[in-house]
Symmetry: C2
Subunit: 328 residues, 2 copies
């Protein structure tokens, strides 16, 4: 047996006699032989590895995305290497250091970064395909949800319940992650309000920093207003959790005194009876990974329809934190 024949046999290439192949596979499994991946990668020039970069590995949302990505990677026989880049600089380094990733990963999934065409081009010239997760920002593949629609759904729901003074808990920080997301959701929300002929008091905004504690602080400041809102829309469930707590501490009944609406359908949202606009981040991860793998692996080329923008569904989940506006 020559190495060439063994190589062909083990990889299932044609032009190998049945008997030879059988023999080779038998011996291989007997010896527990497995082709050295590094040698293979060096020879083929492809690493069968994809990278996934997230701002924060420990967060609920990102963990879900990564879980989705991982599932399709292992299924497709790809290794998944994860990296977190929490600061804008770290991300900048990553983009500048595209050559560093060269040959280490066939493709990259960038989660919730404000990637520019230039960044992506840098990766491409380094031979790295990239698909991003989040808001669409350039001429490259992005999978995500319709964040403006999220804001719209939230507004519609609250409007139907008769609310007109609606607080907004969001975030003004745009770096390093989910950069466009808060603004998109907020503008969808404001547009819906405007379309309904409600003019929205811009003071009804508070920064919740996409954290539980931030949400609580934001709610507290909203409640401290001379003319507080009858409902508040938090741009994430975690902020809504905090907001809920703050409202309860202030002695308010939800939804009797004030309605509360979140985004995500976090695993604990049901427990809080939180009405929310649900998304499925792990499905986002799955789709992103499929797109990427279709682009870098000819074997999976026709498994999925390659597109530049993929929008996953969101839906309103009505639970117990929203109700009709109370009479003032």
């Amino acid at each position: 047996m020559s190495v060439a024949t063994v190589s062909r046999a083990l990889r299932g290439l044609p032009n190998v006699a049945m008997s030879t192949r059988a023999h080779i596979t038998a011996v291989a499994s007997d010896l527990q032989y497995v082709a050295d991946p590094m040698a293979t990668r060096l020879a083929t020039g492809r690493s069968r590895t994809i990278g996934c970069v997230v701002p924060l590995l420990g967060g609920w949302y990102f963990a879900q995305v990564v879980a989705g990505v991982e599932a399709v990677c292992t299924e497709a026989g790809f290794d998944l290497v994860v990296q977190s880049a929490g600061s804008a600089e770290r991300l900048g380094d990553l983009a500048d250091d595209a050559p560093t990733l060269q040959r280490r990963v066939d493709g990259l999934i960038m989660v919730d970064y404000a990637l520019t065409d230039t960044n992506v081009a840098a990766f491409r010239t380094a031979g790295i395909e990239v698909v991003s997760v989040g808001a669409a920002t350039g001429g490259f593949c992005t999978v995500g949800i319709d964040d403006a629609a999220v804001g719209d759904m939230a507004a519609q729901h609250l409007i139907e319940l008769g609310h007109t003074r609606i607080g907004l808990i969001g975030s003004m920080r745009t770096e390093p992650f989910r950069f466009a997301v808060p603004e998109l959701r907020a503008s969808g929300f404001r547009t819906a309000l405007a379309d309904a002929g409600i003019d929205h008091d811009p003071h009804l905004f508070a920064d919740g920093n996409f954290s539980v504690g931030g949400g609580a602080g934001a709610m507290t400041s909203l409640l401290a207003m001379s003319n507080p809102p009858t409902a508040v829309f938090a741009l994430s469930d975690e902020m809504a959790f905090g907001a809920r707590r703050a409202a309860e501490r202030a002695g308010l009944d939800i939804p009797g005194d004030i309605s509360l609406l979140g985004v995500d359908d976090h695993e604990l949202a049901a427990l809080f009876e939180l009405t929310t606009v649900a998304q499925d981040p792990s499905a986002v991860g799955v789709s992103a990974a499929r797109q990427l793998i279709a682009r870098v692996d000819s074997e999976h080329n026709d498994d999925v329809h390659v597109v530049d923008r993929m929008v996953l569904p969101t839906r309103l989940v009505e639970r117990g934190t929203t109700g009709p506006v109370h009479s003032a």
Copy 2:
């Protein structure tokens, strides 16, 4: 310039003239040259990659551990590939297929698996070092917390408050993950009770499956007893969250009517005012990764003291869900 010189210069090896090195680095950065990692790996026989296997990528606990691991990996210049193996079979495959991992990773961090010496030996012979996270189970390195002490702390706290009928929400499933953990915590808890001269009613146990929903169900069944407990100890915060909700739904006041105690100090525990035995899973990940890297990388050999068992601290965080026993 010969390739050898370039190689030496770029890797910071000795025996390179200052001027030569300067020139080479200059040209390299000018050309954005980076050594091909696959070629390096093939030549050196080390992948500078470590693998991390978890039962579930999306869970809070595991996400924290992975985050810790990732932080030290990138700092040490190692790639981190993650894989989830949720079922016992998938894990078995992994152990049997140790040869598959061969040369792909220098080391492996197995999170909360019931690894046997045999499993570990299989990895070792494949040239893969492994450190596990969780309960100590064999002659290999394990980093974790003292789960029996966790149970003990919980029991002490509740005993001091005067409780004697204490419910336990845990889990009887031992596969595939955290296999020994529930039993260790439970036995630490029972021992403390026994030492205090309290004989514990074995019926005061309910399976909460380490999930929010399970915790709620478990609490409900505990509450349905003819002689319900005055306090309950949930083996995880997520189960405690569910338990709390169930108690509230039953119209009970916490801690007035019933005390509740969890384990983890989940990011939302503070929000729930949950008294809990805190651990720091990301610190566990950090330590595990350091141990592993010290074992596979001579450069980092003396950065950390290599041990076989590493126990990280836990502490009781008293918040609002535990209080003195109410008079019956």
